[in-house]
């Protein structure tokens, strides 16, 4: 299955870097994909109250 082209912003300089989540194409034609960090969150359980 062919997907539509991804949104690509035209960069103004060859050394410009994308924001996380965006794709840029530099004037020399190179494509740079800005990747956000993939995260996992682990919340420590709060001890329940109570007495023995």
């Amino acid at each position: 299955m062919t997907l539509d082209p991804a949104p690509v912003r035209a960069a103004e300089t060859d050394d410009e870097q994308p924001e996380p989540g965006e794709i840029i194409q530099t004037p020399n034609g190179n494509i740079v994909i800005g990747v956000p960090t993939a995260t996992a969150d682990a919340e420590s359980p709060v001890p329940s109250g109570g007495s023995s």
Partner: protein, 147 residues
């Protein structure tokens, strides 16, 4: 649609039981040009169900099957632990197109653990001579926060 990234939760299992070593093994980034639906239960690059759902690019147009190695892996340890490495870069020798990328540990002979997945939000295409660079976030490729 913006670029998105997902961590495979199973990478915690595979690192804890020493199937994967993100700092000393050969970590690679592979491309696909076919739609793939991320699933948190996917565990290995070279085994079902992942390899039945993810069609890697064949060797052509500047891409080599298996993907590129990520250099300089590094881990930071704190309440939020992160892992990162050098950017993945391909130089197109024809018309190189991709819609997504996957990071995995290529060192095991089989059962190569998955690390993370990047969806481009559509197709990116580099003409001959141009590069495709996957630029990881300064905060890391993956992070685990314990709060």
């Amino acid at each position: 649609m913006a670029v998105t990234a997902n961590m495979y939760p199973m990478v915690l299992t595979t690192t804890w039981n020493k199937e994967a070593n993100l700092n000393s093994d050969a970590i690679k980034c592979a491309l696909t040009n076919t739609a793939y639906t991320y699933a948190a239960t996917h565990k290995y690059f070279d085994a079902a169900p992942f390899n039945a759902a993810f069609t890697e690019l064949a060797t052509a147009n500047g891409y080599t099957a298996g993907g590129v190695a990520l250099t300089s892996p590094a881990t930071t340890s704190a309440q939020t632990t992160s892992w990162t490495a050098g950017n993945a870069v391909w130089t197109s020798t024809g018309t190189l197109s991709a819609v997504a990328a996957v990071v995995y540990d290529s060192s095991p002979a089989s059962n190569k653990p998955l690390v993370s997945f990047v969806q481009f939000g559509g197709t990116v295409t580099a003409p001959s001579g141009a590069t495709i660079t996957i630029a990881w976030n300064a905060s890391g490729i993956i992070t685990v926060a314990v709060t």
